[in-house]
């Protein structure tokens, strides 16, 4: 019964998205059933719009910038958190996590006051800064388990064996953190690409994709909104799929390298025994 509940839960999450996806390919402008047929006209219409193409491009730039900046800041602070102990560590970790506990509205108005005070004009730069602030806690949280269980003796061992600080970082620390960093960076891209609540306050004349869709939604009920939303979702999906693929490939590579090491060692002696055992097992399996 719980199993059925879980699938109902998934259905509830996906049904609205599927409905919007369907209507984005609807041949008539009506947004009600019955469904009248398929067409790509809304996609053609939305891609013909200069505003849409500009907003999409702005969003990609901002999300890329936010992902790069957050990765640099987040990864360096993660390296610091590995080394620092005690009270200072608590303080740093708390500051890095704090924005997550505040509503986006609060971050937005705080930032807009701050930018006004230091005389920074609202532009894509301020939007990127806002997104870094919003995404950094998520980045650090994603790396948290790796940071908490990081064994600093590995670095010490490397240095005892004569590695420089850079070498121990490059050969020991980075390979351990890398998969999480890549995953977290892509998460930041997706978060930034979809952010609207803070962006509303800090954006200037150039709008991002969510800003553009939002202003369309406030004005009218327009079937091109379906297509625009689907483009946004599609892009997030592509980025996430790439992240998943990278993660999966890396894990497979590390597992297969580990097992092949073991195999090399064991191969010479065990080879024949394994072969014999396999043959003796096979008839039993076929018997079943």
């Amino acid at each position: 019964m719980l199993r059925m509940y879980l699938w109902l839960y998934v259905l509830f999450l996906y049904a609205p998205i599927v409905i919007i996806a369907m209507f984005s390919f609807h041949s008539s402008p009506s947004l009600v059933f019955p469904f009248e047929g398929w067409s790509l006209r809304w996609y053609e219409q939305i891609f013909a719009s200069q505003t849409f193409r500009d907003s999409l491009w702005n969003s990609i730039i901002v999300a890329t910038g936010a992902a790069v900046a957050t990765t640099l800041l987040g990864a360096t602070v993660a390296l610091a958190l590995i080394r620092i102990k005690g009270r200072a560590r608590e303080i740093i970790a708390t500051i890095c996590a704090a924005p997550i506990a505040l509503p986006g509205l609060f971050l937005g108005i705080a930032l807009v006051s701050g930018f006004a005070q230091i005389g920074m004009n609202r532009s894509l730069v301020t939007v990127t800064i806002a997104h870094v602030l919003y995404a950094l806690p998520f980045f650090v949280a994603t790396l948290r388990s790796r940071i908490d269980y990081f064994d600093t003796s590995l670095e010490e061992a490397a240095r005892d064996l004569g590695a420089t600080t850079w070498q121990s970082f490059h050969l020991i620390t980075l390979p351990i953190l890398r998969p999480s960093i890549v995953g977290a960076a892509i998460l930041v891209f997706a978060l930034s690409f979809d952010e609207l609540i803070i962006t509303v306050f800090v954006s200037g004349n150039e709008s991002t994709l969510p800003m553009m869709i939002w202003s369309m939604m406030r004005r009218t009920v327009d079937p091109t909104i379906n297509a625009a939303s689907m483009v946004a979702f599609g892009l997030s999906l592509i980025v996430i799929t790439i992240a998943g693929a990278i993660f999966w490939l890396q894990r497979r590579a590390s597992i297969s390298s580990r097992t092949s090491d073991l195999e090399d060692e064991a191969n010479e002696q065990v080879d024949s025994t394994v072969e014999q055992r396999k043959q003796s097992v096979r008839p039993v399996q076929s018997f079943e």
């Binding site: 610091a80 506990a101 986006g104 108005i109 006051s113 609207l196």
Partner: protein
């Protein structure tokens, strides 16, 4: 002059933390303090007058409009948080203790990345006068006239916010439940606890932190969201979030908006205290165990 290895390590970690800490100082801590300062200043025709006073707080606290919209915002947040946690808990339970693979979990997390606005728009399509719900109900002959009250009501906001928060709540609950190992559940069962007792005396107290953070995160995100209520809530659905946002966008009285924001934050803290106390009264929090 040479530094010891220890000193060099400390210098290095300080240097590594410095960029992020300066970023947080300039773009998070100082702006928040500035906002606090603003809330004690006043604004006349777009010029901010830096003389200390508490007029903004008094004005906000005595405004009926602020309380009405504030209650809407809080009730949006509370209902969304309750629904998200209660409805996600069984799903998280199944994923952690029963399911053989993580496919459903990944599928749920993937939906998190469907854009926020897509979901808002989808629910507008579904709940509207000619939307899916109304047309289906009419087709089955359950109603003759489309139900007008669903869309543009606080209910529509809550349904949409729950839909948005589900993956987030589920993620937090799953990672909390993963820490409650099956051994404990089996031990409790062996000692004669019923299924219900295992839930209330083992699982919930042991995953207490995760449950509270799931509740609070969904609450904060939902209660502070001003875009969903604006697009779906209708006239009754206006929240104080929208009021604050408007002060910083069109109306332009930043000090008043800042005071409203800090009062709202204080209300959020109140909800946190209330919720944790409620869990304690219901004997669902960890700490001293009661044995009836």
């Amino acid at each position: 002059m040479s530094l010891s290895v220890n000193q060099r390590q400390r210098l290095l970690s300080g240097a590594l933390a410095a960029p992020t800490m300066s970023f947080m100082l300039v773009f998070f801590i100082l702006p928040s303090l500035l906002l606090l300062l603003y809330s004690f200043w006043s604004a006349r025709s777009f010029v901010i007058d830096p003389t200390f006073n508490v007029d903004n707080y008094l004005r906000t606290l005595s405004a009926a409009g602020f309380w009405r919209t504030g209650v809407t915002g809080l009730s949006n947040g509370i209902w969304t948080a309750i629904a998200s946690v209660v409805l996600s808990f069984p799903a998280a339970y199944y994923i952690v203790y029963r399911s053989v693979n993580n496919n459903a979990f990944y599928l749920i997390l993937l939906s998190w990345f469907s854009s926020y606005l897509v979901r808002v728009y989808a629910w507008r399509t579904i709940l509207g006068t000619n939307g899916l719900i109304n047309t289906t109900l009419i087709q089955f002959g359950l109603i003759s006239e489309p139900l007008e009250f669903i869309l543009f009501s606080p209910l529509a906001s809550v349904i949409t916010l729950v839909h948005i928060m589900f993956p987030f709540a589920l993620l937090l609950l799953v990672s909390a439940l993963r820490d409650v190992k099956t051994d404990y559940l089996e031990a409790a069962r062996d000692m004669g606890a019923s299924r219900f007792q295992v839930l209330t005396k083992v699982i919930i107290p042991m995953s207490y932190k995760g449950i509270v953070s799931a509740f609070m995160f969904t609450f904060i995100l939902a209660a502070g969201d001003y875009i969903t209520p604006q697009l779906l809530g209708g006239r009754d659905g206006v929240t104080n979030g929208l009021l604050i946002a408007n002060q910083f966008r069109s109306a332009g009285n930043w000090p008043l908006g800042a005071a409203m924001a800090f009062i709202t934050l204080a209300l959020f803290v109140g909800v946190y205290v209330f919720f944790t106390q409620l869990m304690k009264v219901c004997r669902l929090s960890p700490g001293r165990r009661y044995h009836d």
